[in-house]
Subunit: 136 residues, 2 copies
């Protein structure tokens, strides 16, 4: 699958998001790259040619995408949140030195032996992060 700006409007609509120019640009930044991007990086990408989108709109839009389940949040770096266009079940590999973040397909990973949840609680998600670095 290959994400063009034209595709984006349909993708947004299918997630109950009104497709505006700014929202299409932001979605395109994430989905065409299929990378984990911070708000700052999204802002830079969207405003490369000429300034098009304000900081407030970038943050508001990313939060909207999150609420609508179009993207996922990855909390791995204490200084910034990453937004992930891959919402399928997967885990993360994080290079602590470089900040490079990559996906681990959850299909073959198995987690067992977790204790029962406190009553009245449901799991919202399980985040598994493998932190790696260059051998000393």
């Amino acid at each position: 699958m290959h994400y063009t700006r034209d595709n984006m409007a349909g993708l947004l609509r299918s997630h109950d998001i009104n497709p505006t120019h700014q929202r299409i640009e932001i979605a395109h930044a994430l989905f065409s790259r299929q990378e984990h991007l911070s708000a700052d990086q999204v802002m830079a990408i969207v405003n490369t040619r000429h300034s098009e989108t304000s900081k407030a709109t970038v943050y508001n839009t990313l939060k909207l995408f999150l609420e609508k389940g179009l993207v996922r949040e990855v909390i791995v770096d204490p200084s910034k949140v990453f937004f992930d266009p891959n919402t399928g079940p997967h885990h993360h590999l994080y290079e602590v030195d470089t900040g490079k973040l990559s996906d681990i397909d959850a299909a073959h990973v198995q987690i067992s032996g977790l204790p029962p949840l406190p009553p009245g609680m449901v799991t919202e998600g399980i985040d598994l992060i493998v932190r790696i670095r260059r051998k000393a």
Copy 2:
């Protein structure tokens, strides 16, 4: 085991940390409670009676404790880092609504099927976070 201020000096020395008044207070805040605390919370605890320790010292000290392996960092909330006096192998249960963070003993949890690491890389740690919330 029961952590008093008097114990703290020995604990610090055993981790190659020169025990100063401020460091003892900060270690005591963490170890006597055995809770996950943010820098802000540590600051508030240490300065309850009368102001004793500056913000710079709180941050410097927590970073020092981290480098020396006395505490561990837990990155789970996008807005602040938690410091964890429990450095043994364990995972975390995070209540997204309340921000409550609790430990899951790693003894019975098994993670299998992780892909091989890229060559020349070593694992620094595996963080498993179970995000839960109150049932709708």
